[in-house]
């Protein structure tokens, strides 16, 4: 056990390096970056905001299974009926994928692959416009 001081020093150094960004920012007094999300249209989401913030992916997975596997298209929540559609229902209030979905996903460093296939309305417009320009129309 003659190496004990060296091992402990190494561990301390490692811990210090790993936590460097935390204490460096604390020392400089840098405030955490604010997440600015676009305000949604309408007054209420289908579920509580806190619940949606945490569990919207579960809601979307449930919707996916209901629509694709069970052929259900509508969901009734507390007397209100909604079409289970990411692009038609969610994005009808959250108008901008870039300023809502993407911003928060970037902030949380997650990369869901919804948009590999699903087309955000504005995204569709952009692509269509590009295609038209390419054709010279």
């Amino acid at each position: 056990m003659r190496d004990r001081p060296w091992i402990l020093l190494g561990l301390a150094l490692f811990a210090a390096l790993v936590t460097f960004p935390l204490w460096y920012n604390t020392a400089l007094g840098v405030a955490p970056k604010e997440l600015e999300l676009e305000k949604a249209r309408g007054d209420a989401c289908i579920y509580e905001t806190a619940y949606m913030r945490e569990r919207h992916m579960d809601v979307l997975m449930k919707w996916r299974d209901e629509v694709v596997r069970r052929g259900n298209r509508l969901v009734r929540i507390g007397g209100k009926t909604f079409e289970m559609s990411l692009t038609k229902t969610c994005l009808d209030c959250h108008r901008s994928k870039e300023r809502f979905c993407d911003r928060c996903h970037d902030y949380a460093a997650v990369t869901p692959y919804c948009w590999d296939c699903h087309v955000a309305p504005e995204q569709g417009r952009v692509v269509a416009a590009r295609a038209r320009t390419a054709e010279g129309r």
Partner: protein
């Protein structure tokens, strides 16, 4: 501190059980599960959807591709010029390729070379469904449509090998650059996914007929409930002689052809 094996397992077990119970409890407290899921009120339903292609009417409009165009526009189907990578849901095939079992070494000059519209047959015994390892393709119990769940497709292409009609296409690359006009109301597919005709199940759910049926200027495509003896498809099958593609394979296609 020393711990024997027994107490270690006890403590670990309790911790895991506690975590699971806690997770379940948190789910219950959040409680968004009190929702009802229902089909749309105007949805078209049948016990067995099927189609009759009246090639006599289809041939009236020489070179017409309205149905193909309508389908491919409605479903964001990419237009890829490379034949080895092309994606298609509905297309025209020469008679002898669509109906190889009806072709002999003495070809009929009226039929040989004639173009026939082909699409997924939505077989009653779909071989693609039997081989799919993830149930990404399955036959819907309610109406017999052979469905696709692109979320689940892992791109193994067993279904492509199994389908005797070539009705399935694989996305070898990102299809988006090849889609002339991307519609936002229907998803595109992505690289590594198999796609095919779905009998427009998304349109049926809104109370609309399939895009190809609606687009045909000659009304050569008749879509209806094969389980309903009073339906137009059943009337046609009763009164006209109709073929199925490769009937000897026992897949029981639900798309019929009047020559």
């Amino acid at each position: 501190m020393s711990m024997d094996r027994k107490s270690f397992l006890k403590i670990t077990g309790c911790a895991v059980a506690g975590a699971i119970a806690g997770g379940k409890l948190a789910g219950l407290v959040a409680g968004a599960e009190d929702a009802d899921y229902v089909p749309g009120p105007e949805a078209l339903t049948a016990r067995r959807w099927g189609m009759v292609v009246d090639t006599r009417k289809c041939r009236k409009e020489e070179g017409c591709t309205d149905c193909i165009r309508a389908c491919h526009e409605a479903h964001n189907v990419p237009q890829i010029p490379d034949k080895t990578r092309e994606v298609k849901w509905v297309w025209k095939e020469k008679f002898e390729h669509a109906f190889p079992s009806h072709e002999t070494e003495y070809p009929n000059e009226e039929l040989h070379g004639r173009e026939v519209l082909v699409l997924c047959n939505h077989c009653d015994e779909p071989p693609c469904v039997r081989v799919c390892p993830t149930q990404a393709t399955w036959k819907r119990e309610s109406d017999g449509i052979v469905m696709m769940d692109w979320h689940r497709c892992i791109g193994c292409r067993y279904c492509i090998a199994a389908c005797p009609y070539g009705s399935r296409s694989f996305n070898w690359g990102d299809p988006r650059p090849h889609i002339p006009k991307i519609r936002a109301d229907y998803p595109t597919r992505t690289k590594g996914v198999v796609e095919k005709c779905t009998f427009c199940e998304e349109r049926l759910a809104r109370g609309e007929m399939p895009a190809c049926v609606e687009a045909c200027p000659e009304k050569a495509l008749v879509f209806g409930d094969l389980a309903d003896p009073a339906s137009e498809v059943r009337r046609l099958l009763r009164t006209e002689y109709a073929l199925r593609r490769k009937p000897e394979l026992g897949t029981k296609p639900e798309v019929f052809y009047i020559l």
